[in-house]
Symmetry: D2
Subunit: 139 residues, 4 copies
Amino acid sequence: MLARVRASFDRQGMMTTLGVEVTAVEPGRVEMSLRHDDRFTQQHGFLHAGAVASVLDTACGYAAYSVMPPDASVLTVTYTINLLAPAAGQRFTMTGQVVRAGRTLIVCRGEAFADGADRPFAAMQATMTVLHNGPGLSG
Amino acid sequence: MLARVRASFDRQGMMTTLGVEVTAVEPGRVEMSLRHDDRFTQQHGFLHAGAVASVLDTACGYAAYSVMPPDASVLTVTYTINLLAPAAGQRFTMTGQVVRAGRTLIVCRGEAFADGADRPFAAMQATMTVLHNGPGLSG
Amino acid sequence: MLARVRASFDRQGMMTTLGVEVTAVEPGRVEMSLRHDDRFTQQHGFLHAGAVASVLDTACGYAAYSVMPPDASVLTVTYTINLLAPAAGQRFTMTGQVVRAGRTLIVCRGEAFADGADRPFAAMQATMTVLHNGPGLSG
Amino acid sequence: MLARVRASFDRQGMMTTLGVEVTAVEPGRVEMSLRHDDRFTQQHGFLHAGAVASVLDTACGYAAYSVMPPDASVLTVTYTINLLAPAAGQRFTMTGQVVRAGRTLIVCRGEAFADGADRPFAAMQATMTVLHNGPGLSG
């Protein structure tokens, strides 16, 4: 499972560009981290909500993927993100966790933390779908 | 108003990095565009949902900003995005539009289109807040 | 199609209890209306957001249902509702409209209006799923 | 605080009509329960998502209210609900919990459980706003 997550993750140009690392994978839960980067800021110099959302969405996606059958792939249907405070810090940790997995839809929650704080600065509720793969589609 | 939107936009490292252009600004409505870029893809080679969400969020934010008093700044409280189809194409147009503006909260809708299609491949509902600025905060 | 929508609608105890009427059905769009009722208020005497959400969700559900094959049924996966102003008025009109219909997922938008106002007091973005029926399940 | 929550709750016609009880209130967390009722069903005979959402929204609202200053009142700005499974059962327990409280916005999560199950059948992420009261507004 870990190998599948990493193989799929490595194909995501966006995650490479943002400098995201997968720091933990267990069934139903994934943790990622990234550093502040001036290329991905909003107008006040904090990490852009879009970067935060990208990583939370990916963490939720792989949390869902980690409980899917080996031949399936994952797609985000929709998510809601609350931005509770600016993404102010040097190092950000983002978690994705399965709330409940159905046969075709999996709901996850994500949380983003700055510099080891225990209160999240962003919270996500995401709906993922399971695709049973045709040829050429994986991860 | 246009000048304020552009000045704030130009301070967003993320928008520069993604190569986003502001193509139209009118009171309550903003349009942006960007090109496909392999640096910002998901695992199947399409534009990453995080890039799509970043631009839609920004378009909604500036739509809200365009109806605010000159001394105010805008912050995203929360948004919901539906990813209706993969972001497959060469050129993407993203719109943000005010649904209703209150004194401190403004609700907007965003839509993303690929290569001139008339059906959106992503739809957003976003809640923005108006900040009456302290020193040093603008846009 | 109209007959299918009405037959399903009539089986919803909740809609009968709230006194909701279907006022228009066309492919991809449904309109419903209800009156203020003191049984369904929040603590300040306005119609409860839960009642507003119930009717908007139902309007979106039938908008989706109206573009499905005859043997399918509809289920709400998730929705986001923004409450833009109190539900103050005597008569409320709620619309549901398909944004884009996929094979298994349909995204709709809903809007709620009070007493003929042209600005909505609530806005919904909803994700519906298509169920291909087993025996005993319809509507 | 408990007295304030109960006083406000008792003014909600909708909660009385649905037969909802407040079963626990602590700072930042509220639990409510209700029984299945044929008046509030959807077309397949399960409790309507609108009834589920009403109670989850209220539980989240009072969770937020429980951490506000005594002179403030609470209003729902927006929420997202995922319906993970039908609301099938006799007795439903719904919880609301504060994720993070800011000065004017409070984000909460809600979960709904049927008949003592440990997996939720619905999950909510809600954004509440704090109103500093003018005369005549409370709760």
